[in-house]
């Protein structure tokens, strides 16, 4: 369990965001949800989240754009992509662009949690989280 | 029967024991037909409980496996489920593994005899076999159970794929491509897996338990090709093990023959069982059986420890441990085989009933 890690969750479906948020928060993560790609990009500019989880198909700004934005600013931030429309090409592209992992919908919240936990473990291995994300 | 033989590592076989060994073979055969590989995990400790020294039990078992694999791989070979290139490479490494195993066993055997003599002569190698057995098989069965629990919700009913994903990321050179199995595997991975498979096959006679999952989950081979290739491999490994053990004079041909008597009948029933039972149940039954076997072996360990003088126990307690171990082993095998036979029988009856109703239903529509 890694409390205090900040997760940015981008998904345009409020119900998905809500369910995943509950699951992650129960595991001790601090979750921020964005429902549009544009707002997510703005948040990434402002704030250094520890982990980013994004759907691939959101709106005109898609998950790949968000991945690119995250990698451009903070290449070490693990970014996890989720999508209901996974294909070999998209998955390989995401991994080639440096995504941490790739999850095909439908999945259970705990499947995501497992991946997020792994990402958190990786951050800790690299010497803990830096920046302003200290828990209260 | 001359005394010098009985004083060595061959035991006297009376009618009861002969029936018991054949029964072991039958249950082992049923299980191996059902599970797809192994059966040795039941027969080796079973024979040890009957008073056969561990090394002889293993040697006889591996000889038994040789003939069985020969029959099986011929069938698979005709269907093109054998990747010979993969088999040959794993074979060479596995041969090294077996050699190592035989050597370790032999040296433990002689060390035991020189050291303590009498009871302690076989106790050391028995202990060693039991420990490896418990370690490896509890790992296999527990991870199987964990998978089942994880995949209860008919999600991807497969073990976690960390190993394959991990290896795929690195692709250690040189990579070798296998046309029949349609995979590319790093030579180093092959070496490690082959060595481990051979070593375990030589020690506890259960190479298949490591080989098949390794091929499916580490190399990414399809299940059918994995089973076929494994049988092909098992044939050579069995032959190699047989020659090695026979050269050491450890194979008791009477036990081999008795094992066949039961196992070749059981294997047909077990194989029939897999056609009529759900995958999840197959794996559940399998892992429970293995776990019980492990438990049974675990109970026998204090006896060997006492004989080696590691722990202090009354020699009369041996009987309790041995019979507890025996009961548990037989219980696991019998229950497993009973469950399988129950499914086979039920499916057989059901088949007839369903056909009757279908035929009746189809007629008016036609």
């Amino acid at each position: 369990m890694t409390p205090g890690f900040e997760v940015l969750l981008v998904d345009d479906e409020p119900i998905v965001g809500k369910r995943l948020r509950t699951a992650l928060e129960r595991a001790g993560y601090r979750v921020e949800v964005c429902e549009t790609g544009a707002s997510a990009l703005a948040r990434i500019e402002e704030h250094a989240h520890d982990i980013v989880v994004t759907d691939i198909r959101i709106d005109e700004v898609d998950g790949i754009e968000i991945l690119k934005a995250v990698k451009a600013r903070r290449p070490e931030t693990p970014t996890i992509l989720i999508t209901g429309y996974a294909t070999v090409e998209v998955a390989r592209e995401a991994l080639a662009r440096g995504a941490f992992d790739f999850l095909a919908k439908p999945f259970r919240p705990k499947d995501l949690l497992r991946v997020v936990d792994r990402a958190a473990a990786q951050i800790e291995e690299r010497g803990g989280k830096g920046g302003p994300a200290e828990g209260p | 029967m001359p005394d010098f033989l009985l004083a060595g590592h061959f035991t006297h076989i009376d009618l009861l024991m002969a029936v018991e060994v054949a029964l072991l073979g039958f249950i082992g055969g049923t299980l191996s037909g059902f599970i797809g590989s192994g059966g040795a995990f039941f027969m080796t400790p079973g024979m040890m409980n009957l008073g056969v020294p561990g090394a002889v039990a293993v040697a006889s078992n591996i000889s038994h496996k040789f003939g069985k694999a020969m029959i099986g791989s011929k069938k698979h070979g005709e269907m093109g489920h054998v990747d010979k290139k993969l088999a040959v490479i794993v074979l060479i490494t596995a041969a090294l593994g077996i050699n190592l195993a035989v050597w370790v066993m032999k040296s433990l055997f002689t060390r035991g005899r020189e050291g303590g003599g009498g009871e302690a002569s076989t106790a050391l190698s028995d202990l060693y076999i039991s420990l490896v057995f418990v370690g490896v098989l509890s790992l296999v069965s527990l991870s199987m159970l964990a998978d089942i629990i994880k995949s209860r919700k008919q999600e991807e009913a497969r073990p976690s794929r960390r190993i394959v994903d991990f290896l795929n990321r690195f692709r250690l050179h040189p990579m070798i491509h296998f046309p029949v199995a349609d995979v590319s595997v790093s030579l180093w991975v092959l070496l490690v897996c082959g060595l481990a498979t051979g070593y375990l096959a030589g020690t506890i006679g259960v190479g298949g338990f490591i080989g098949v999952p390794a091929m499916i989950y580490v190399f990414g081979v399809s299940a059918q090709v994995a089973a076929g290739t494994e049988l092909f491999l098992a044939m050579f490994m069995g032959a190699y093990g047989l020659l090695n053990y026979a050269f050491q004079g450890m194979v008791d041909v009477r036990l081999v023959v008795l094992l066949y008597l039961g196992s070749l009948v059981g294997i047909h029933l077990g194989a029939y069982g897999t056609k009529v039972v759900r995958e999840l149940i197959i794996r559940l039954v399998t892992s429970c059986i293995i776990l019980l076997c492990v438990l049974s072996r675990l109970i026998a360990i204090p006896v060997y420890l006492r004989r080696l003088g590691v722990v202090r126990l009354r020699p009369s307690a041996d009987g309790y441990f041995n019979s507890a171990s025996k009961v548990l082993l037989y219980a696991s095998g019998l229950v497993g085989a009973a469950i399988i036979l129950f499914f086979v029988f039920r499916a057989y009856l059901e088949r007839r009933r369903v056909h009757a109703s279908l035929a009746a239903g189809a007629e008016p529509a036609a």
Binding site: Y85, R92, A104 | L5, G80, A157, H268
Partner: protein
């Protein structure tokens, strides 16, 4: 009406070429991405399948069902879109969901490795090395995908009619050439292939209906349609859900009759002249009963394969697209129409149905190649029985041809292929087997007796020291063990065959 399938990799040109072709021919164009998105929206977990391929996972039972549903969805989509004006589909290997529809024009688009790397670098902004790795991985994934879904090698050129290298030919020029090629008589939909399409479409719709119903959605089934006659083969483990199938399928438009068969596997019976009174039928039924298998009849018609029927539009053969009044085509249609009238087939099917063993029927003209093309490669056969075929060719030629046919089927399907005359000796219990049973049993018993009677000398022999003697002992064991295993193993096998458990 024209159906064109463009198989493309990661190279962008494939899509452009397909679109250019569709534009020139004036028919709709469908991209794989559209189809898979629609499948996902329809509740099929395509993404899970794709990821199983990426992660090199073997398919679980759940994914095997999703695979069936996905294939049915793609088949249904292609048939539906193509029905009116035809279709250009571009994706991986679309034509494989239309087995047996020979006029499908199959184009494979490739490009030079360098050009592809350059394009990937440009598109994804990757380094050269990463782009190369990306291409390799995607190629490998797609190859694996095709293997997992259709059990063929998608990169093999013999799956395609033409391979175009877009590094050498521009998209526009390639499109012009291919438009001309598409006009060839071989690529025109005949009434026969139109019917094959309708059958595939109906079967696919039925499969989707089964997958979409709450009661039956987890079932692994194989659906075949032959002119409104739908046969469904299901596995014994689904016995609880199976009774719901007929009521689901009766709702579907175009279904005239539903035959359900439970099977764990399939038997393919290839015969030229299906005769219910021959010796073969009861034998095959007996095996099917024992193995719990469904029997699929394939009537191999004499003559050239349909795909080769008109070399360069020769005389009278189907040379003109899709007009039923034309002589050659009408001929083709009439001949196919005659089939269900064939009393032998009708009677044989009737008996299979009443035995609960019917696994569908189809007719194919030509030889091994045509048979393989028409087979659904994802379904599992465990035995192929080749009856009397090529009878018009003379006795010795027929023998050779059927032997060759058996050989190539065995290579491609990787299951035993035997002649109907060998059925009894190989898989059933005849008088000769009693003898073998007795012989093997007696020999095994003799060996057993000897081992136990002379156990002391034998053990002494096995344990005596001395290197030369040890080698001798090992060799003796090496020979004895397989001998006994073989003798007793054969005895046990015959015994179980006698008891009909196999």
């Amino acid at each position: 009406m024209q159906i064109i399938c463009v198989s493309r990799g990661t190279y962008e040109g494939g899509k452009e070429l397909a679109e250019a072709l569709a534009k020139r021919l004036g028919i709709p164009c469908l991209a794989r991405e559209e189809a898979t998105d629609a499948a996902t929206r329809a509740g099929i977990h395509v993404g899970k399948l794709e990821m199983a391929v990426v992660r090199r996972h073997p398919l679980s039972e759940y994914l095997a069902v999703e695979r069936e549903k996905f294939q049915a969805f793609i088949t249904a989509t292609l048939c539906e879109r193509a029905r009116e004006e035809g279709l250009v589909y571009h994706g991986r290997t679309g034509h494989l969901v239309l087995p047996g529809v020979s006029p499908v024009f199959r184009i494979r688009v490739i490009a030079d490795t360098e050009a592809r790397i350059a394009q990937t670098m440009d598109r994804l902004g990757l380094s050269r090395e990463k782009a190369r790795l990306f291409n390799e991985q995607v190629d490998e994934d797609i190859r694996r995908w095709v293997r997992v879904l259709y059990n063929v090698d998608g990169e093999s050129p013999d799956l395609y009619d033409v391979v175009v290298n877009l590094s050498h030919v521009s998209v526009e020029n390639a499109a012009s050439a291919l438009v001309a090629m598409a006009q060839l008589p071989e690529f025109q939909v005949t009434p026969a292939s139109r019917r094959a399409l309708e059958d595939l479409h109906l079967a696919a719709r039925c499969r989707l209906a089964i997958g979409g119903d709450r009661r039956t959605r987890g079932m692994q089934v194989r659906v075949r349609a032959d002119r409104g006659r739908v046969s469904v083969t299901w596995l014994p483990r689904d016995r609880k859900a199976a009774p719901a199938v007929p009521s689901i399928l009766e709702e579907i438009e175009g279904v005239r009759e539903v035959v359900c068969t439970m099977a764990t596997t399939n038997l393919l019976w290839i015969e030229e002249d299906v005769d219910p009174d021959s010796e073969t039928l009861p034998q095959i039924l007996e095996i099917a009963e024992k193995w719990n298998a469904a029997v699929e009849i394939l009537r191999l018609e004499d003559g050239e394969g349909e795909a080769e029927a008109a070399p360069a539009g020769a005389s009278g053969e189907p040379g003109i697209p899709d007009t039923e009044a034309e002589g050659g085509i009408l001929d083709d249609g009439v001949e196919v129409e005659r089939l269900p009238e064939d009393a032998g087939v009708r009677e044989t099917m009737g008996r299979l149905v009443s035995a609960g063993r019917a696994g569908g029927y189809r007719a194919v003209r030509g030889g091994a190649r045509e048979i393989l093309q028409s087979l659904d490669r994802t379904s599992s056969y465990s035995l192929v029985v080749v009856g009397r075929v090529f009878s018009s060719k003379g006795v010795s030629t027929a023998k050779r041809l059927s032997r060759e046919l058996a050989g190539s089927l065995a290579d491609a399907l990787r299951v035993p292929v035997i002649g109907s005359d060998e059925l009894r000796s190989q898989y059933l219990f005849g008088p000769g087997h009693w003898l073998k049973l007795a012989l093997h049993g007696a020999l095994a018993a003799l060996l057993l007796f000897l081992v136990f009677t002379y156990q002391a000398p034998i053990l002494e022999f096995l344990a005596r020291g001395g290197t030369r003697h040890r080698i001798l002992a090992a060799a003796a064991l090496f020979l004895f063990v397989p001998l006994f295993a073989h003798l007793y193993g054969s005895f046990a096998r015959y015994l179980f065959r006698l008891m009909k458990i196999e």
